[in-house]
């Protein structure tokens, strides 16, 4: 975390450096990813099915909207694993695509990179920019601090950060956001309680996030009001079989912009883990009000694959 995000933020205050940095960072990440993939040991499937979760909307291992303390894929302390994901969310007036890759280093550190694209729909027309979308890159790191989601009596604990950088920062700034980039820091606790839900396994997750992101950062960071704040996120799921789960999530969000109020996110999901190479999450989501368009409800579909 120290090695990447801190210098990034410092450099980011110089616009020209920052533009080059975006490409450099992306290239560096890709190179690192591919080289580590190439040298990764053949086996990276040593953990039990579903214990890597899915990939949440910002590219970290988790449920749909909430990052969990689990690390992506199935690598154990002796293994290195990689995953890739694609997610599409379709609500009343907006579409959101998220695409990315992640690597699990010995079930201790997870590095992730994702690109989000918010299709502005009618808002683009209102702005006189039909077909316009807002894009941002999200670079994540998550470190497992302690515990195992199944085997230890205490939950698995992880500390994570998501550095987010808008590629279309002019609009968030015009809307009153203080910044077009920012870093979320979160602490997650996740535990699978074997047989706790009427004989079925129960997964509970709690995440506490420090953030200034408006609508995940797609509408910039901060505003005229409070900047960084603590937000709570929770998930609960029942595994009806080792490969099939259903659950709910709630993600509290800040409300920094004067021009548009922001609501908490929530979803109901089903997840299917046919094997350790593929997982699919289908959800009904309620994203509340986005850019003054209320009742943004709809569907969420996410697929994760790993070699």
């Amino acid at each position: 975390m120290k090695a990447t995000t801190v210098p990034l933020q410092r450099l980011a205050s110089f616009p020209r450096v920052r533009i080059q940095l975006r490409h450099a960072t992306a290239l560096l990440c890709l190179t690192l990813f591919i080289s580590i993939c190439g040298s990764a040991s053949a086996a990276s499937d040593g953990r039990l099915l579903a214990t890597g979760g899915a990939t949440q909307i910002e590219g970290s291992a988790g449920g749909g909207l909430v990052p969990w303390a689990v690390l992506t894929g199935y690598a154990t302390r002796d293994e290195i694993g990689v995953t890739a994901f694609a997610t599409h969310v379709e609500v009343e007036d907006f579409g959101l695509d998220s695409l990315g890759v992640a690597i699990n280093l010995r079930n201790r550190v997870e590095l992730s990179a994702a690109r989000q694209r918010l299709d502005l729909g009618p808002v683009a027309d209102e702005l006189g920019m039909p077909g316009y979308s807002l894009r941002q890159n999200v670079f994540g790191i998550k470190v497992r601090l302690a515990g195992d989601v199944i085997y230890t009596p205490w939950p698995q604990l992880a500390l994570g950060a998501q550095y987010k950088d808008s590629l279309d920062g002019a609009i968030p700034l015009a809307l009153g956001a203080r910044d077009d980039h920012g870093t979320d820091v979160y602490l997650s606790a996740t535990k699978l309680f074997l047989g706790a839900a009427g004989g079925r396994n129960l997964l509970l997750n709690g995440t506490l996030r420090s953030t200034s992101a408006n609508q995940l950062g797609l509408l910039g960071f901060g505003g005229s009001g409070e900047g960084r704040s603590l937000q709570a996120e929770v998930s609960a799921a029942i595994l009806f079989t080792p490969s099939f789960a259903a659950g709910i999530e709630y993600r509290q969000k800040p409300d920094n912009l004067d021009v548009a109020s922001e609501d908490d996110f929530r979803d109901l999901f089903i997840a299917w883990f046919p094997n350790k190479h593929v997982s699919t999450v289908l959800a009904w989501v309620d994203l509340g009000s986005i850019a003054n368009h209320d009742r943004q409800r709809g569907w969420y579909l996410s697929v994760q694959v790993s070699p």
Binding site: D45, G46, R47, L194, A197, G199, R295
Partner: protein, 145 residues
């Protein structure tokens, strides 16, 4: 306000549905009976031993194991774990596994075999999970010893 209330209600409903499963009282037979007593346990361990031999990842770990004795001790251990009328006559788990340096992946591979066998033997899912819950704390005594 109405919107929030409606959304809130939907979530309360969902939560209720999800948690109803937890609260539903189940008139369950004792765990030992759900496994089919000693006969059922013997069948589970038979199946597990077959799978161990067929599992290239963990078969080498049993190269020097007296499988007849392993079979007997595992039945005793599982029987005791699920509240059956048995006494485990083997050594402490740490001692048994010392020197094997069993990895997390190898441990989980055996757990997967066990889950598959229990499913194949039609052990109820809740009983399977209860056994796994009781076995989970032993992992620390088994891996990387």
């Amino acid at each position: 306000m109405t919107k929030c209330a409606t959304a809130g209600r939907i979530h309360v409903l969902a939560l209720t549905v999800l948690l109803a499963a937890c609260a539903t009282p189940q008139s369950r037979a004792p765990l030992y009976d759900q496994f089919g007593k000693l006969e059922g346990l013997n069948a589970v361990v038979d199946g597990l031993v077959e799978r161990i031999h067929a599992n290239a990842q963990i078969a080498p770990l049993f190269a020097n194991t007296d499988m007849a004795r392993f079979h007997q001790l595992l039945v005793e251990y599982l029987c005791m774990t699920i509240g059956g009328p048995c006494t485990y006559t083997g050594e402490e788990l740490v001692e048994v596994h010392t020197g094997l340096d069993i990895t997390e992946a190898e441990f989980n591979s055996l757990v997967e075999d066990l889950i598959d066998v229990m499913q194949e033997r039609n052990i109820p899912r809740a009983a399977q999970n209860e056994l796994l819950a009781r076995l989970a704390p032993t992992r620390k005594d088994i891996i990387y010893q």
